[in-house]
Amino acid sequence: MKNIFRDPRKSLAAKLIIAIGLLMVVGSFIFWFSILHKQEKDIMSIAVNYGGSFIDYVKRRTSFSMLTDHRAVIQQTLEDISMAEGVERVRIFDHDGNISYSTDRPSVGSSVDRDTLACRGCHVEAKSDFQLLSERKTWSVYKDSLGFTALKLVEPIRNEITCYTSDCHVHPQEQKILGFIEADMSLALLDKAKFKQGLALTAYVLVFFLAISVALGIILWKIVSKPVTELTLGMGKVAEGDFNYSVPIKSMDEIGVLTSTFNSMIKDIKAARDQRELWTQTLEAEIAKQTEEIQKTHASLLQTEKLASLGRMAAGVAHEINNPLTGVVTFSHLMLQRVPPDSLDAEDLKVIIEQADRCSKIIRNLLTFSRATPSEKGEINVNNVLSRTIYMVKNQEKFHNIKFNTSIDDTQFISDGDPSQFQQICLNMFLNAADAMNGRGEITVATRKITENGKNYVETEFTDTGSGIKQEDMEKLFEPFFTTKPVDKGTGLGLSVSHGIVKHLGGEIKVSSTVGKGTSFFVRLPLKEQRT
């Protein structure tokens, strides 16, 4: 309720109340004014009629005295008559304006104003401020000395036979108008009544206005202000970001419709915002994924480049070393033939030969690694190469206590590449597994077709029950010369060579490992065709 009147310019209810109030006030004033006006006119005509008969009465009461020329009686009669309520003054004056008789005795003998109603009735053209009651009587309304309304009536006294034949011979026959009877009557009572009516009207309008205002205020507050305030509150909440807020709907009118429209709009906005947020999140995730992929690709490119340059260098060095190594091998063998077997010299020479062998093995691996590009183009029949390799290693002493679980059928997975290189990869996988299991455990080998990003691959799985790979070693696995094996057992080139070959063929190697449980390597090569 308060806020309706807080600032009329900002309150719908206040505006309505003011407008309706103004209309009401104006309306009631017009209505009451016309009633009052009519009443006044009626009262006035009654007063004028009464005044007319009053003058007639004065005339009749004085006519005999006039004819008999009893002037004192006339004066006395006037004075008597003027005692009546509301009669202010009665005068009789002749055509020249000389007052012959008056209730105001001192003025007898003096003459009236030329401006007075009686004179103007005939002698002034502008007759606007007085009216003719009948043929003979003239009247006008004016304000008396106390400010009350007063009625002035004038009747001319015409010359009649009785007048100019009278004994007194006062009036000659030719004179038409002998004089005038003039009566002033106070209408103070009428004024008082009018004033009272005005007061009542004002009071009525004020009370009515107040009552209507209060009633309108309450109604407007209930059906307009309150719901609108609630709506505003809701909008504020929404503006602050609370999209779950819903404005209660309390009516079925336009405001109710507005509120429900607002609510559904907020629902839509919320849905749209949620959708957008979801998109943003998806986009962020997508960007993160892409970034990660780019970084991976970059790292792998770096790795490839590193490996390539290392390979070129290694190849050059290896070639040069092969020649002196030939000398070492040849001469130590020749010498071994000359010294007595089982001698200390023979033992020492065997060490030299062994170490030279190691050198040559390292060089072989290095050269394989540098030569990751298959110069022999061919076809790798994955299952075929695997079966052959398994058959080959099974007969080695190192694998006597290892059980092979193979699920390799007759399906022919064909991939482009050098079969001997693929065999080299498999061999290294088996050797690594055997090392990780200390020669005792199970190796599971399986092949399958997989599809990734619309491309087909043949995947070979090598799973062992060995020691597993520590998390910190995982990243270094494919680096050349990374090994955890004793110096004379591993060169750390097996996986890096395999990686190089597989990468070059367009495939990849994946690892998953649990320390203490085992390791799985997955070698993927692009699948050219599959024959069954």
């Binding site: 290896a318 092969n322 030939t326 091998v329 040849t330 040559s360």
Partner: protein
């Protein structure tokens, strides 16, 4: 007595071959480059040429082609580093009998050489 020509730019390889083969009853002559080897061949035929694949001025394949063009009946055995196995295989198609990889042991060399003369 079988005559064997060793063509290799590396002194130690030449000496290794000499020291392995001479005691086994072979006559070994040596050349340190392809052109020198060809000059020696002009002077007289040999029973076997041990030819290094990778040499500075004229490489093994060129020398092999020349030998096979001029003396088609000459036996040639390639000596190669591991990295050029493919090339060595290619040379077999060009007429070489066999190849051995460096570093080789005396036994490997002898076995390969004896194999040539057996057939």
């Amino acid at each position: 007595m079988k005559k064997i020509l060793v063509i290799d730019d590396e002194h130690i390889v030449r000496v290794s071959c000499q020291r392995t083969l001479t005691p086994e009853g072979f006559e070994v002559i040596i050349a340190s480059s392809g052109s020198e080897g060809l000059e020696l061949l002009e002077k007289g035929p040999v029973d076997l040429v041990l030819l290094d694949l990778k040499m500075p001025d004229m490489d093994g394949v060129e020398v092999l082609n020349e030998i096979k063009a001029k003396w088609p009946d000459t036996n040639v055995m390639m000596v190669t580093g591991y990295s050029s196995v493919e090339t060595a295989v290619k040379t077999l198609k060009l007429g070489a009998l066999n190849y051995i990889e460096k570093p080789f042991t005396p036994e490997t060399l002898l076995t390969a050489v004896n194999e040539v003369f057996k057939s």
